[in-house]
C-alpha cells in the first residue's frame, strides 16, 4: 500500500479514537443511568456544563486534570437536579431531561460569554504507553493517546464487569427492570437511581470537559454541537451494554474524523452535507437499532422512564 495513504489513515483513525472518547463517556454514563430506570435526555446540557467548568478550572489552576474533575463535579451536581425531580418528585423524565439541556446551554453561554475564544495554554498532553505504542498500526492509533482515552478503555471493562458479573450490577439491573421486585429484595431503589444518575452526569461532564481540556482547548458557546444527543441515540445502538457503547462511540468518532479530514482535504463535497453526516448516520442507526432491539427482545430496561412509588400498585 501507499505509505502516504497509510499515514493519513492512521492519523484519521487516531483522531477517530479521540472523537470517539468524547462520545464514549456520556454514552457509558447514560447506559448505566438508563439501566437503573432513569431516562436522562439532558446529556447535551451536562456535557456543556462539563466542558465549560472544565475549561474554567483548567484556566484558573493551570492544570487540565483539575479542570476535568471540576467539570465532572459540576455536571454531577446538575444531574442531581434531574435525579431529585425524576426520582423523588416523580416528574416527567423526558421533559426534565429537555429542561436540563436548555439549562446547560443557557448557563454556559451566560457564564462563558467573557471566555469566548480564550485559549487554554496547558491542555492535556498525549502520553504514549511504552511497549504497546510500538506495535505497528494499532500502537499509534490506540496507545499513543492521552490518559483520558486510556481511562475510557478501563471504564468500559470495569463497568461491563460491574454490570454483568457483580452483585452491584444485578441490583442495578433489577431496579431498572422491576423496581418493585428489587425493593422487595431489599435493594434501595431510590438510592440506586440517585447514584447512577449522578454518576452518569459526572461521566457526561467528563466527555464535555475532555473537549475543552484536550481536543479543542478553547471555549465557544455550544461547543458540544449536538454530541450529547448523538450519545443518547448511541445508548440504543449499544443496547445498554458498555462494550457496545465503546464500539458505537468509536464508530461515530470515525465518521466525525473522516468528515473533518475530508473538509480539511478540500474535497468537492459540500461542507453542509459533510457536517450533516453524523446526524444522518445517527438517524439511520437509531432506526436500525430499534428494529434489532424489537426483534431480539434485548436491551431496553423495562421500567425505563417510569418513576417508582412503593405504595402504588
Amino acid at each position: 500500500m501507499n505509505p502516504a495513504f497509510d499515514s493519513i489513515l492512521i492519523k484519521v483513525l487516531a483522531g477517530a479514537v479521540q472523537s470517539g472518547t468524547i462520545l464514549l463517556f456520556p454514552t457509558l454514563g447514560e447506559v448505566l443511568t438508563e439501566r437503573s430506570g432513569v431516562l436522562n435526555l439532558g446529556l447535551e446540557g451536562l456535557m456543556l456544563i462539563g466542558a465549560f467548568f472544565g475549561f474554567l478550572g483548567a484556566m484558573k489552576t493551570g492544570n487540565p486534570y483539575v479542570g476535568l474533575l471540576l467539570g465532572m463535579a459540576a455536571a454531577a451536581a446538575a444531574a442531581a437536579i434531574h435525579a431529585f425531580i425524576c426520582v423523588t418528585l416523580r416528574g416527567n423524565q423526558t421533559v426534565t431531561g429537555l429542561a436540563l439541556a436548555i439549562f446547560g446551554t443557557g448557563l454556559t453561554s451566560f457564564y462563558g460569554d467573557r471566555w469566548v475564544s480564550q485559549r487554554l495554554t496547558t491542555p492535556i498532553k498525549p502520553m504514549a504507553i511504552p511497549g504497546l505504542s510500538q506495535i505497528p498500526v494499532v500502537g499509534p492509533i490506540l496507545f499513543s493517546q492521552d490518559l483520558i482515552v486510556y481511562a475510557g478503555y478501563i471504564l468500559v471493562a470495569l463497568f461491563w464487569f460491574l454490570l454483568f458479573k457483580t452483585k452491584v450490577g444485578v441490583n442495578l439491573r433489577a431496579v431498572g427492570e422491576n423496581a418493585k421486585a428489587a425493593d422487595a429484595m431489599g435493594v434501595n431503589v431510590v438510592g440506586t437511581r440517585y447514584f447512577w444518575t449522578i454518576l452518569g452526569g459526572a461521566l457526561a461532564g467528563a466527555g464535555g470537559a475532555y473537549i475543552t481540556c484536550c481536543i479543542h482547548p478553547y471555549w465557544l458557546n455550544g461547543i458540544t454541537s449536538g454530541k450529547g444527543w448523538i450519545a443518547v441515540a448511541l445508548v440504543v445502538f449499544a443496547m445498554w451494554n458498555p462494550f457496545n457503547a465503546l464500539v458505537g462511540a468509536f464508530l461515530f468518532g470515525s465518521i466525525e474524523a473522516l468528515q473533518l479530514q475530508l473538509q480539511a482535504g478540500g474535497t468537492y463535497i459540500n461542507s453542509a452535507l459533510l457536517s450533516m453526516l453524523p446526524y444522518i448516520t445517527t438517524f439511520a442507526v437509531i432506526i436500525v437499532a430499534t428494529l434489532i432491539v424489537r426483534v431480539r427482545h434485548v436491551g431496553t430496561p423495562k421500567e425505563l422512564g417510569i418513576p417508582y412509588a412503593r405504595e402504588e400498585k
Binding site: 425531580i85 416528574g91 426534565t96 429542561a99 446551554t105 451566560f110 438517524f283 437509531i286 430499534t290 405504595e311
Partner: protein, 382 residues
C-alpha cells in the same frame, strides 16, 4: 410519613398556583445565577420589563416573537397530550421557512400577491408537516423513540438550510437570500417601525381551533384517552396510528407555518439565523400552559416578553442572552417538580401498621418514638 395518592382531577387552585410559583421561582433562580456573575438582577429584570412592555413599539416587538411561539405551542399542546414528545419544532419551523421561501425566491414573478402568499403559507405548512410525519411514522410502525428522532431532524434541517444558503440560494457568496419581493411579504398590521403581522390572527385562530378539537371533537377525546393509557385506547377501538399521525401533522404544520410567516413578514429574507430556537421556547410555553391551547396564548406572550427583554439587556447592558435559557429552564424544572402536588394528593399520616422493632432500646433518644407507637397502637385499637 408522607403518603401519595394519585389524583383523578387536579383542583383548579393548584393548576393556577403551581405555574405562578414556578415562574417566580424561575426568576429567583435566574437572580442567583446573575449574582454569581456580579450582575444586579433587579436592574436586569427592570430592563427586561422595560424592553418588553416599555412602549407601544417594544410591546409590538414582544408580540412579533409571541406569534411563532403561539403557533408552535398550540400544536404541541395537542401532541403532548397523547405523550408524543415532538421536540422537533425547530426543524419543522426551518423546513416550513425553506419550503415557503422557495416560492418567494424562485416562484413566477407574475403571480398576484394573495395567490403567492397563500401558496407560500401552504407550502410552508406542508414542509413542517412533512418533517413531523417522518418521526410519527417511525414511532407508530417501528416504535422508534420520537424524542431522539425529532431532535436529530432538527440538526438535519439546520444543515439543509445551511446547504441552500451557502449554495444556490445565497447571494455573492454570503449566506443571505435576495430580499423577498413585495408580493412575497406577508402584510404587517401596524404602521412602521412595528413588524407585527397578520400571523397573529393565524395564531389566535389556531389556538381556538385546537381548543375546540381537544374539547369538543371525537378526535380530541381520542388523543386524551391515548395519552392516559395506550392499551385502553386500543381496546376502545381507537386507531392509534391515525391519531398519532394526524396530531403530529397538525403540530408540525403549525410549526412550519410559524417558520414561513416569520420569515416572510418579519425578516423578509432567508438567512441562516431565522430564530428557529423558538421551537424550544414553545415547548416550555406548552408545558407552562398545562397543555391548554388558550392558556398557551397568554404564556407565549409572557415568554416572548422574556425573550424580547433578553435581546434588549444583551444590547444595552451587555448581559449575555443565555440568562433567558437559565430562567426558562428553571421555570420548567419547578413546574415538573410541582407535578408531585398536581398529580398526587400528598398527606402527612402516621404509620399505623408499624412492624415491631426488634428489642427497642430504652433511653431518652427512643422514648419519643415509643410514645408515638404506643399512641398509634392505641388509635388502631379504637
Amino acid at each position: 410519613m408522607l403518603r401519595f395518592e394519585k389524583r383523578d382531577k387536579t383542583p383548579v387552585r393548584l393548576r393556577v398556583l403551581v405555574p405562578i410559583c414556578s415562574v417566580l421561582l424561575g426568576l429567583l433562580a435566574g437572580s442567583v445565577v446573575m449574582l454569581f456573575a456580579r450582575v444586579n438582577p433587579v436592574r436586569v429584570y427592570g430592563a427586561i420589563v422595560k424592553g418588553a412592555f416599555g412602549s407601544a413599539y417594544t410591546f409590538s416587538e414582544t408580540l412579533v416573537i409571541a406569534v411563532p411561539l403561539i403557533l408552535i405551542s398550540v400544536g404541541l399542546c395537542l401532541v403532548y397530550r397523547m405523550k408524543f414528545f415532538n421536540i422537533g419544532a425547530k426543524g419543522q419551523y426551518i423546513m416550513g421557512a425553506i419550503c415557503g421561501s422557495y416560492l418567494a425566491l424562485f416562484g413566477p414573478a407574475t403571480m398576484s400577491r394573495p395567490v403567492l402568499l397563500t401558496l407560500m403559507l401552504v407550502l410552508g405548512t406542508l414542509g413542517g408537516a412533512l418533517w413531523a410525519i417522518i418521526p410519527a411514522l417511525l414511532k407508530v410502525y417501528w416504535n422508534v423513540n420520537e424524542v431522539i428522532a425529532t431532535l436529530l431532524l432538527n440538526y438535519i434541517a439546520s444543515y439543509i438550510l445551511w446547504f441552500f444558503m451557502y449554495g444556490t440560494w445565497g447571494t455573492r457568496g454570503f449566506p443571505l437570500s435576495k430580499n423577498f419581493a413585495l408580493n412575497a411579504q406577508l402584510p404587517r398590521i401596524l404602521p412602521a417601525p412595528s413588524r407585527l403581522h397578520i400571523g397573529l390572527f393565524f395564531g389566535l385562530a389556531a389556538a381556538v381551533i385546537v381548543w375546540i378539537i381537544i374539547r369538543k371533537t371525537r378526535f380530541g377525546y381520542e388523543t386524551r384517552v391515548l395519552g392516559d393509557n395506550e392499551r385502553a385506547a386500543r381496546y376502545a377501538g381507537i386507531n392509534v396510528f391515525k391519531t398519532v399521525i394526524i396530531a403530529a401533522v397538525i403540530s408540525g404544520g403549525l410549526a412550519g407555518l410559524a417558520g414561513i410567516a416569520h420569515t416572510s413578514a418579519v425578516l423578509r429574507i432567508l438567512q441562516l439565523e431565522i430564530n428557529s430556537d423558538y421551537g424550544y421556547t414553545a415547548i416550555i410555553a406548552a408545558w407552562l400552559a398545562g397543555l391548554d391551547p388558550l392558556v398557551a396564548v397568554g404564556v407565549s406572550v409572557l415568554l416572548a416578553a422574556l425573550e424580547a427583554g433578553g435581546y434588549q439587556i444583551q444590547i444595552v447592558m451587555r448581559v449575555p442572552f443565555g440568562i433567558v435559557g437559565v430562567i426558562e429552564s428553571s421555570i420548567l424544572f419547578c413546574l415538573l417538580a410541582g407535578e408531585i402536588i398536581t398529580h398526587y394528593r400528598v398527606t402527612l399520616t402516621r404509620r399505623l401498621s408499624t412492624p415491631p422493632r426488634s428489642t427497642p432500646r430504652i433511653g431518652k433518644k427512643c422514648s419519643g418514638a415509643l410514645d408515638e407507637r404506643a399512641r398509634g397502637a392505641h388509635e388502631s385499637c379504637l
